[in-house]
């Protein structure tokens, strides 16, 4: 490990592992970022406290 990787298998195990961690983190971060992005939209539905995603489908149904 200290000298890098000797096999493709070892290399991929490591890089895919890091990628999986990034994927999980990104799912949370992107959701949060969307809230930040649309937080001041005038026409958006007021987000419920603790609501996860932007205006839910209720918007279209009222």
């Amino acid at each position: 490990m200290e000298n890098g990787f000797y096999t493709l298998q070892e290399f991929m195990t490591f890089t895919k592992g890091v990628t999986y961690v990034i994927m999980v983190i990104s799912l949370f971060v992107i959701t949060g970022f969307w809230l930040f992005l649309t937080g001041r939209d005038e026409d958006s539905q007021p987000n419920e406290p603790g609501g996860t995603e932007h205006h839910h489908q209720g918007g279209g149904h009222v």
Binding site: M12, T52, Q57, G60, H61
Partner: protein
């Protein structure tokens, strides 16, 4: 058995219940055999054929045919096809039950089912596509469960919890589509590691794309097929809105399925060209490949189109059956029929009757749970307290 059902003034001893009961008893016996004698006692699996019917049918077909959940919820909530709203809950229910059945069947197939969480909690084999499939199926099963809870919560009268969950609809839908894209395609990608065993006509670096695109077709066709069955057996449970929207759903989904099948056909042909596999078409396997491609992809594509043009609901429903059979045929071809094609016929795999029985057993459990749910919860109709918002 789902026990008492709300088919009022009907005896429990219906032919359906008798057959289902018999299947459950036989299934229970085989279950005991499986966990006392091992796979050798109940299956025809061998060292050359490590994956049999339980993977080829229960896993591959089960997951593909449960695609209706993500396809329908994406169509309605993301693409804004509100006219199909009444199709969402039945599709999510069958999707959830489909995945639950897949996981149930896996418990029979793997050697030590209680270790199924090991890849996630003990040691992560991140280079394996099975790791990806496992992670996505586990997460998606959870997503489908949450997506379905509003119906159960309405039934139980838990208004606040139900409203909390419906607020997550879009998030869950997007999450569901991401997860479905990943594991539907990864099921095909499972076979990428074995180019030396799968027949070249079915092996392609496009396998994941084929599996994903055909899962959309499978999802649409299963919604059509299930709605036909539900109509027939649970028509009394459907409200006017559901019945009214049903024609719309049928025509719209048939159109989408026809178009997707056309795309699927195109990329399948491109796959042959990319690997220059034309010469195999003149062989026995080539003929079988053409049966699948022309009879179960091109033909349903055309029949759906005719059905849509003529507004022929009957034709569309039969085409849905044909398409579903085509998807099953494709998954069995990849996993069993064209797999290990080089082995002499004496070493090829054919499922034992007990393997088939377990598959039937698992499907029966699914049907019984479906019946239990739709006869009680607001799936095929809207709950009077929550109009037009599920």
């Amino acid at each position: 058995m789902s026990g008492k059902n709300t088919f009022t003034s009907r005896s429990l001893l219906t032919p359906f219940n008798l057959v289902a009961g018999l299947i459950l008893i036989v299934g229970a016996v085989i279950t005991v055999l499986r966990f006392t004698r091992g796979l050798a006692g109940v299956t025809h699996l061998s060292n050359d054929n490590p994956w049999g019917l339980w993977i080829g049918f229960d896993l591959l077909c089960g997951v593909a045919l449960a695609a209706g959940g993500y396809v329908t919820s994406a169509a309605v909530y993301i693409f804004g096809m509100k006219r199909y709203h009444s199709a969402v809950r039945p599709a999510i229910l069958t999707g959830f039950l489909g995945y639950a059945m897949v996981v149930l069947a896996l418990n029979y197939d793997v050697g030590r089912p209680w270790r199924l969480p090991y890849p996630f909690v003990v040691q992560q084999g991140t280079t394996s596509l099975l790791f990806e499939v496992g992670a996505c199926v586990a997460l998606y099963l959870t997503v489908l469960f949450i997506e379905f809870t509003p119906a159960a919560l309405e039934w139980l009268g838990l208004k606040r919890a139900r409203n909390l969950v419906t607020r997550l609809t879009i998030l869950l839908t997007i999450f569901g589509v991401v997860l479905s894209t990943l594991h539907q395609s990864s099921l095909g990608a499972l076979y990428l590691i074995a180019p030396s065993k799968l027949h070249p006509l079915w092996y392609s670096s496009y396998l994941p794309v084929y599996f994903f695109v055909s899962s959309i077709v499978a999802g649409l066709s299963m919604v059509l097929f299930e709605s036909t069955l539900a109509h027939h057996y649970f028509g009394d449970k459907m409200d006017e809105k559901h019945l009214r929207e049903n024609t719309d759903v049928t025509l719209g989904f048939a159109k989408a399925a026809s178009l997707t099948l056309a795309g699927y056909f195109t990329i399948k042909v491109i796959g042959i060209a990319m690997d220059n596999n034309w010469r195999y078409l003149a062989t026995g396997y080539g003929l079988w490949f053409l049966v699948e491609l022309l009879g179960f992809v091109a033909l349903p594509c055309f029949l759906y189109a005719v059905g849509v043009r003529d507004k022929n609901i009957r034709l569309i429903r039969w085409t849905a059956v044909l398409t579903v059979l085509g998807i099953i045929l494709n998954r069995l071809n990849v996993s069993l029929i064209a797999f290990n094609w080089r082995l002499p016929s004496s070493e090829r795999y054919f499922p034992s009757w007990m393997e088939i029985m377990i598959s039937v057993f698992v499907v029966t459990i699914g049907i019984l749970v479906y019946r239990f749910v739709v006869t009680r919860m607001p799936v095929l109709y809207e709950h009077t307290d929550y109009p037009s918002s599920h």
